[in-house]
């Protein structure tokens, strides 16, 4: 009971952030919701093992990332059931077809996207991102570098220019 309460507390506090990460990865709110739910379900199962560690957040992100990457490999990832067409509220002012950062992110490879989101949006160190992505720090640096190159090419050289 105690563990369940702890998990519920953790899940309630982190669900939105995890879903935002998932959305940045997949650019689909419903899929993001599913990914978050699946990731939290796995965290729930592992909770007795991981809750005493300080790395629950990292574990949750790792699971989320793997759900995302493995989901893309599954055939079912091409299914996009839509009950109703979502309305884009508040976007009229951007009707000038200006490419948003979200749009540009969507053009990156999943690994580049994950690395950039974790590194820059989540503000995690290269080593931490490498741990979550189960890769080397060098790979993370490379993914970020190439990802930023693509973003600059699409959004203009002034975007994220080194200062």
């Amino acid at each position: 009971m105690e563990a369940r309460e702890e998990f519920t507390e953790y899940a309630a506090a982190s669900a939105k952030r995890l879903r935002d990460i998932a959305y940045l990865m997949c650019r689909d709110w419903h899929q993001a919701q599913d990914l978050t739910q699946a990731a939290l379900a796995k965290v729930y199962v592992a909770w007795p093992r991981i809750s005493r560690r300080e790395s629950v957040d990292a574990y949750a992100r790792q699971v989320l990332l793997r759900e995302f990457l493995s989901g893309r490999r599954r055939l079912s990832s091409t299914e996009r059931p839509i009950a109703e067409v979502p309305e884009r509220v508040g976007r009229e002012d951007q009707a000038d077809l200006r490419l948003t950062l979200l749009d540009a992110l969507a053009t990156l490879s999943p690994n580049q996207r994950a690395a950039l989101v974790l590194r820059y949006w989540e503000d995690r160190s290269v080593e931490h991102v490498a741990e979550i992505m189960r890769t080397s720090p060098g790979s993370v640096k490379s993914l970020c570098f190439r990802g930023l190159q693509v973003l600059r090419a699409q959004l203009g050289t002034e975007f994220l220019a080194d200062r």
Binding site: A12, R19, A38, L40, Q94, L102, D123
Partner: protein
């Protein structure tokens, strides 16, 4: 600097995206996790009992070889190791249904082989976990007997009938430690009861050995945790059950009774699904509040369950 720009711009664009409300995501994740944990438990159980069955069959074969000749049919217990029976209303039949193994025993059995805890050399598969497997079970009081899977399921069936009325029942073999650290030695007797196309499960967890934290004292009447996820939809794992509802009651002694109902393909059954969950949360709680959920039950009741409940092999 570039990190801050990146973050600020993404935050702004995310804010403008207006995602749907989080809603029941946490409750749905908890229910999905619970199902996942149970499924993993049953998979572990199935893997474990395959070994138990092999030893039991092997032991019986050896006994038959010595006592009745090599051609004598060997009897094994119900459920485990048998081909899954089609889901039907299980009529009250003797618990031990003699069957003939279709394969020769793969495990070489000898007269000196040591049965696993809970097994016997009579061919009767275990109906309870012994203390060596489940930890320190409390002693069985006079006039009582150790709780079995069958007695758990009979009690569940009686309770479901009490709160939800009569219906079609069948019972799946399933009881085991959960396999989770900290819980491996505590939770016993998971049972799946199929009632009118809904799976209803119950698990009982022994009180913790450790003195409970006085700050987290359980209030009189117990502490109740409920979850309710009607119309669960999604991908992969979470798609397995259409809906789930559960109640976990923590009693004042620290023991826990969890009652869970699920619909949809997640219950491992073929056949018609139903969209609704027939029992309300209060009805589940009423079942959980039955004080007879314990590590031992009335000896007569346990004996009655032994003959009244036929276990099918798990469909998982």
């Amino acid at each position: 600097m570039q990190e801050e720009d990146f973050r600020a711009r993404l935050d702004a664009e995310l804010d403008a995206e207006l995602g749907p409300p989080i809603g029941t995501l946490v409750a749905a994740a908890t229910a999905a996790g619970e199902r996942r944990r149970r499924r993993r438990t049953i998979v572990q159980l199935t893997a474990g009992t395959a070994g138990v069955a092999a030893v039991a069959v092997g032991a019986v074969f050896a006994a038959g070889h010595v006592g009745s000749g090599p051609g004598a049919p060997a009897a094994v217990g119900p459920g485990v190791g048998a081909v899954a029976a089609p889901r039907t209303t299980a009529p009250p039949t003797p618990a031990v249904t003699p069957t003939t193994p279709t394969t020769s025993p793969a495990t070489p059995a000898t007269e000196t082989s040591t049965p696993l805890p809970g097994t016997s050399t009579s061919g009767q598969l275990p109906t309870e976990y012994e203390s060596s497997e489940i930890g320190d079970l409390p002693p069985v009081p006079s006039g009582q007997a150790r709780t079995t899977a069958q007695s758990m399921l009979l009690l569940l069936e009686q309770n479901v009938t009490r709160v939800g009325g009569p219906g079609d029942f069948s019972h799946t073999f399933g009881y085991a430690p959960t396999g989770n650290p900290g819980e491996a030695q505590k939770t016993m007797f998971l049972g799946d009861l199929y009632w009118n196309h809904t799976t209803i499960s119950v698990s009982y967890t022994l009180p913790p050995k450790k003195q409970a934290d006085p700050k987290k004292k359980v209030p009189p009447g117990g502490d109740v945790f409920r979850w309710d996820t009607p119309g669960v939809t999604g991908t992969s794992e979470v798609k397995l059950a259409k809906s789930a509802r559960g109640v976990e009651l923590t009693r004042t002694d620290g023991s826990r009774v969890m009652v869970l109902e699920t619909n949809g393909p997640g219950n491992g059954l073929a056949g018609p699904d139903r969209a609704d969950l027939p029992l309300t949360s209060d009805q589940l709680l009423s079942i959980a509040r039955d004080s007879r959920w314990e590590a031992s039950m009335g000896a007569d009741f346990v004996a009655q369950a032994q003959t009244a409940i036929e276990l099918e092999s798990t469909p998982y």
